[in-house]
Symmetry: C2
Subunit: 503 residues, 2 copies
């Protein structure tokens, strides 16, 4: 765990990756990429020169964080003695109506691409709130337009959520909005099997620039204070209750590190193109007709929100059900909504189904711990990721052995994610996906975060239970991740500098 | 609120203050101090040259944080045009059996000293866990020995807690341990009246060095994983349940910024000198007889706990009851147990009774957010404080108007304290002091923290409710302060750099 020889910094993206994710290049196919056979529209791949892939993987692991370093089997780590050239594939996944799934995870979804451990993938992600201001977040961007397309006869993507396609449950629309996040993927990892651990390194994150020429050089996000927020039944001012959407402007160039509010408006019942009236924000992607809203400008005038670009939803398909609502996070990740899951962070997920089936979405420009009103600054982002598969057999005796929750590592911290129900699909049985919404509490999530932290300290540091508990009380901080995602979250932050490595 | 002319840094302690709090001088009376008439043993005062006290106060307010600056009435802020000499009193409150009260706040306690707004007080505070290792934390220190004195016939301080003196309730001892913290004080502030706000600036905090020559140059603290901890009914290893005390060594010189564990031991039923058996840690200050304990050394070997010296208990006497258990925090502060209440922080408290009656205790070397096992590294500290009284009339239209909770300000943040019950004494009626222990949840504390944060943003920043709620969700972090003090706590952290001051 504390091998002083193990480098502490996460792996560095190759120059070609950085080039491909430069904001200026978005929408144009990255250079030197070609589409794999049968790939969905726009999916492209760097042509790999298949040289010594295995040695690349070795050096990749050597360059990874402490956990990955500890997880590498010693026998598989030859030190190169001669100069060597290594190649690896770098894919680009654009976001469009052929590459995203909306509002659910599913082990049955065919993967967009199958990659090998060590490969890089640049993935575009689109906020499901883009239609809150179509002019600023949809228009002029072909991929986003294809996703949000909706006329009298057709939606670009019909299913939105894990509910019934005929909307027989609530009449909201196909999928019923039981799950709301636009997710890009899935990405399958070759040879990934249940029991393995998938390491996902977030190498770069960029804001998706607005493609409407009226707002050139800018980017935008939406914050919805919605009916599922912690504040909703606890309002002071009339009318009560109400839903309010605030549009934020984010710097698309990356030069400014803050967002500014542009205007807000109260949700007004919106009739969607199929004729269904949405009195509240009950179905994702309903185009807001601003003829009926009253925009208030000049809001939050002296406020700058520091940006913390991150992915609210990132994770793997679980085995427990075929269609899984994207809202409650669980042991394979998903909608964790922790703003620390951004550039420089590494996530470790337990693989639940063959191929792992990774998807990412719900991009955020910024969010506070608790995500109190129901959403963050929901803002389309593009990320570049590297995927490292740790096979079960290689994990015996390492900190990742039997990992059964999503674990975050940064250069300075481990962040362990507790939930009210660590695996709600298993714990709550057949009605789990509805019951989870009435059974959560922060207390339960702290209970789970405590247990995970204790286990982590006992297994990775070899502490006794008494040592672990004392250390937790005097040196570990617990924060409220979110109280708006059905399965509420508490995270424990363990700083690496607690450990001297002197053992 | 964001007057660019208002200096942002907290007031600086005068050189004499720093001298008086130098660790080397502890135990010796500070120079140039004389005892006020009728003062308890050891209480001393810098002789004030009563020159232009009023102008000092003005300049003091000018030098304070943003809130205090905003709270000053413009008419009372003449800009000095000629050189001026200002004097102020600086008191020293040692900790001994005549200067501390144990386990309770009370509006009926006679103050040790009465000071004027603007005065400085250096206050010694003693951990109630010192007798967990008498050799390291009591012996050789006359003040501490006087507090913990206990033989067959007499205790240095008999009452420990707000319970009955005849121990008719549980038979634990006088005061029943219903409240456990050794508090130094109270300090009365001249002219303080209910409705005023008391600003308390923490100018300096130093560890109290061990006075036992066998451990010269060191200092020690105790962490008890006790029956009131969040972990207690949720243990993995046998015997279950168990209480475990870990002794930590803290650097007394201030050169090292971390604590190291020395040893731990399982609580063994202890018979106190009066003959009462304490099967669990149910009464504070019971001398641990290490003939019955088994010390385990070599624990947490490769762990360094960064120190965050702070005061777990700091606050004012509330008006609602005459004897108030020191454990549950409330609107006048008390046992907030937030590690941010350390050097450089300023606290604002609503004054509830005449004179305000400030006390401080429960010193901690370090604690994590949640204080999960029940305690921090409980370690005696000495603090230097400055007290500024804001009279009710001066607060109209300022951010401190009608403040009804303990508010923390640092150079970079405001930290608002939410509790399961913001004023449990009022909310829960006659049985409040027992019922609070069964009614708390983190959910309730988050509810309170949210309401306070919304109110703070609406009043101090002039935001609408909708603006405030959006800002909270995208830019404010909520953490779990503690889940072990009866009235559980959640704090909201509002970073000052959210506000540009451009209005």
């Amino acid at each position: 765990m504390n091998d002083p020889a193990a480098p502490k910094s996460p792996a560095i993206a190759a120059p070609s990756v950085e080039h491909a994710t430069n904001a200026d290049d978005l929408g144009a196919p990255p250079p030197e990429m070609s589409a794999p056979e049968d790939a969905p529209r726009g999916v492209s791949r760097v042509d790999a020169v298949a040289a010594s892939r295995r040695s690349f993987l070795s050096s990749s692991l050597l360059g990874a964080g402490a956990l990955a370093a500890a997880a590498r089997p010693a026998a598989a780590q030859p030190t190169p003695t001669t100069p060597a050239r290594t190649t690896v594939s770098h894919y680009h996944l654009p976001a469009n109506d052929k590459t995203v799934h909306w509002g659910f995870f599913s082990k049955s979804l065919p993967p967009l691409i199958q990659i090998q451990s060590g490969d890089f993938v640049t993935i575009e992600t689109i906020t499901h709130h883009a239609n809150d201001d179509r002019d600023r977040m949809v228009l002029g961007d072909p991929g986003v337009e294809s996703i949000f397309y909706w006329d009298k006869s057709r939606k670009g993507i019909d299913r939105r959520g894990a509910g019934p396609m005929d909307a027989s449950l609530f009449g909201r629309g196909a999928g019923e909005g039981l799950g709301v996040h636009i997710c890009t993927g899935p990405v399958a990892i070759e040879n990934a099997k249940p029991g393995d651990v998938l390491e996902v390194r977030i190498l770069d994150v960029n804001v998706r620039p607005c493609m409407n020429r009226n707002f050139a050089g800018k980017a935008f996000g939406s914050n919805a204070a919605a009916w599922w927020g912690f504040h909703y039944k606890d309002l002071l001012e009339e009318p009560k209750p109400r839903e309010v959407i605030t549009i934020y402007e984010v710097d698309a160039t990356g030069e400014r590190d803050y967002a500014k509010a542009v205007y807000n408006f109260r949700w007004f019942p919106q009739k969607d193109p199929f004729g269904t009236l949405h009195k509240t924000i009950d179905y994702p992607g309903v185009p807001v007709n601003h003829a009926y809203t009253k925009k208030t400008t000049g809001i939050l005038k002296n406020v700058r929100i520091p940006v913390r670009p991150h992915f609210g939803v990132m994770g793997l398909a679980p085995k427990e059900a075929d269609m899984v609502d994207s809202i409650p996070p669980s042991y394979t990740g998903g909608n964790i909504d922790n703003w620390r899951i951004g550039k420089g962070a590494t996530m470790y997920y337990p693989v639940s189904v063959p191929g792992a089936l990774f998807s990412v979405g719900d991009p955020h420009a910024s969010q506070g711990d608790s995500e109190l009103c129901g959403t963050a600054i929901e803002c389309s982002l593009t990320g570049t990721f590297q995927f490292i598969l740790h096979e079960r057999a290689s994990l015996v005796g390492t900190p990742l052995e039997k990992l059964d929750y999503p674990l975050l590592e940064t250069q300075t911290e481990y962040v362990l994610h507790g939930f009210s129900y660590p695996n709600y699909l298993e714990a709550l049985g057949g009605k789990a996906q509805s019951e989870i919404y009435s059974k959560s509490s922060v207390d339960l999530a702290l209970r789970d975060a405590f247990r995970k932290m204790r286990h982590f300290l006992m297994t990775t540091q070899g502490l006794s239970e008494d040592e672990a508990i004392s250390l937790i009380s005097v040196g570990v901080d617990f924060g409220i991740t979110q109280v708006v995602d059905g399965n509420w979250g508490v995270h424990g932050v363990l700083k690496k500098n607690l450990f001297t490595g002197e053992g």
